[in-house]
């Protein structure tokens, strides 16, 4: 216990890095994922194929490899070296990666909506953007809450991957303390932290599902 109290500062700092990465990634990858999904189902075949390739690339390679690529390979691009700070590297990699997964969730949700909904809206004079915004998306959100909740919880734990970028997230700080002070207690602190975050998310998603369940 003393180990934990003596290291409270660094532990809180680590938790802050984890939380920051989690929320920024979520905030950026959800809209990007939606945009990708809309592009994927658009009438422009080339756009859909491009997005398809992107999703294949992002889901087909490890997130860690993607981070390495942005961190080590982009600065060495001949002619146009791109050097990003550590945290920004993590944000970019996580956002690009999670947007691909969210895109697939959004796409499946949008395509599960009955074609009659589009026709019903069309004969009332709705434009396509109005149909998506007022008719389709509210129904999509309800249907994709369970997979969305899954992916979000995975993101909480994936944040620990950023230790490879020398960023001091919670797990990295904890590991440092464990190695230095020969006490396993910090591991428990980390476990409790991740469990708490997951618990909060679970509650939030359950509330949302309940709210959307009114019209079943």
């Amino acid at each position: 216990m003393d180990t934990v109290i003596n290291n409270l500062g660094p532990l809180l700092g680590g938790a802050w890095v984890t939380l920051k990465l989690f929320f920024i990634t979520l905030l950026l990858s959800l809209p990007l994922g939606l945009a990708l999904a809309l592009m994927r189902i658009s009438r422009f075949r080339a756009l859909g194929a491009g997005v398809n390739g992107y999703i294949w690339l992002m889901r087909g390679t490890p997130l860690m490899l993607q981070m390495f690529f942005i961190y080590f390979a982009l600065p060495n691009l001949p002619g146009l070296p791109i050097i990003l700070p550590d945290f920004l590297t993590a944000v970019v990699a996580f956002t690009l990666n999670y947007a691909a997964y969210f895109a697939e969730i959004f796409r499946a949700g949008i395509q599960s909506i009955d074609k009659g909904q589009y026709e019903g809206a069309k004969v009332l004079g709705y434009t396509y953007p109005q149909t998506m915004r007022h008719i389709v998306m509210p129904q999509v959100v309800k249907r994709i809450l369970p997979p969305l909740s899954n992916e979000t919880i995975t993101l909480v734990k994936d944040t620990s991957l950023i230790y490879v970028l020398a960023l001091s997230d919670l797990l990295k700080v904890v590991r440092g303390i464990v190695l230095r002070e020969f006490s396993a207690a910090p591991f428990i602190v980390a476990a409790v932290f991740y469990l708490c975050m997951t618990f909060v998310l679970t509650v939030v998603f359950q509330r949302l599902e309940k709210r959307y369940a009114v019209y079943d």
């Binding site: 004969v123 004079g125 009114v214």
Partner: protein, 260 residues
């Protein structure tokens, strides 16, 4: 102004409509003219193209060739070269906004309450203020007998109520023509009556209506004119009295014998 009845406006004029799905020709040159305040029933066996024809009129399906005019505005026409050209998108929207449509499967918005289903379209499409539409929406719900269901969701009301709501929702957009695509076909027999009554009321209020239906009773009693379609063509058309009393064509007689 003279006392004589003015020339009735032409609401829909469709000429020689052709439409194929792949190799299957569904409409083989169908023509129809619908005057103001006319109630016309289109009947015929399934697969005869009657629903497809109706859906072509409000741009849910695109025609391959022919010409469609709605209240004098051209929705689509085949040019001398044989290419079928549609009006520009905003014009299509404007033309089709004159027609309301009721579907076999209702197509209500499940995430909105009964009241919201009626209020949301004029708010979104016509940018009208909620307070501005509310009294009218309540009157419409009253008219179709759904006032006490205003806060229910579509999943919580019966099929007949759903279809009456669909009619109210369409009317809230102030259409001048109402298209009905088999409005009672998805309903239990004991629920069709209430929907037909609502439609009859609409006809009594002199709404221009085009109704694809299997309800011979409705066609006989409410429609002024009946069109019989089979195999992508109009086989026979007549006033409803004559149509049922003296069907001319062999196929019409066979169909009516089957139905009655």
């Amino acid at each position: 102004m003279t006392e004589s009845a003015p020339e009735k406006r032409n609401m829909i004029r469709a000429e020689n409509i052709r439409k194929s799905f792949g190799a299957l020709q569904v409409l083989k040159g169908v023509s129809l003219s619908l005057a103001e305040r006319e109630v016309v029933a289109i009947i015929g066996p399934s697969g005869s193209g009657k629903s497809t024809f109706l859906r072509c009129l409000n741009h849910l399906e695109k025609i391959d060739s022919g010409r469609i005019d709605i209240e004098g505005a051209t929705l689509a026409r085949t040019e001398p070269g044989g290419h079928c050209r549609y009006a520009p998108e905003p014009e299509i929207r404007r033309i089709c906004s004159r027609m309301g449509m009721v579907f076999q499967h209702f197509n209500l918005f499940p995430h909105m309450t009964v009241l919201e289903n009626v209020i949301a379209p004029p708010m979104t499409v016509k940018k009208r203020a909620r307070a501005d539409i509310l009294p009218e929406a309540e009157t419409l719900l009253e008219k179709v007998g759904l006032r006490d269901k205003r806060d229910a969701y579509p999943s919580q009301i019966s099929g007949g109520q759903k279809q009456r709501l669909a009619i109210a929702r369409a009317l809230a957009m102030h259409p001048e023509i109402m298209l009905f695509d088999e409005p009672t076909s998805a309903l239990d027999p004991e629920l069709t009556g209430e929907v037909l009554r609502t439609m009859r009321q609409l006809a009594d209020e002199r709404m221009t209506m085009l109704v694809v239906t299997h309800e011979m009773g409705f066609a006989r009693e409410v429609a002024s004119r009946v069109i019989f379609m089979d195999n992508g063509e109009i086989i026979e058309t007549n006033t409803s009295v004559e149509f049922f009393k003296n069907p001319v064509h062999k196929r019409t007689r066979a169909f009516l014998e089957n139905m009655l």
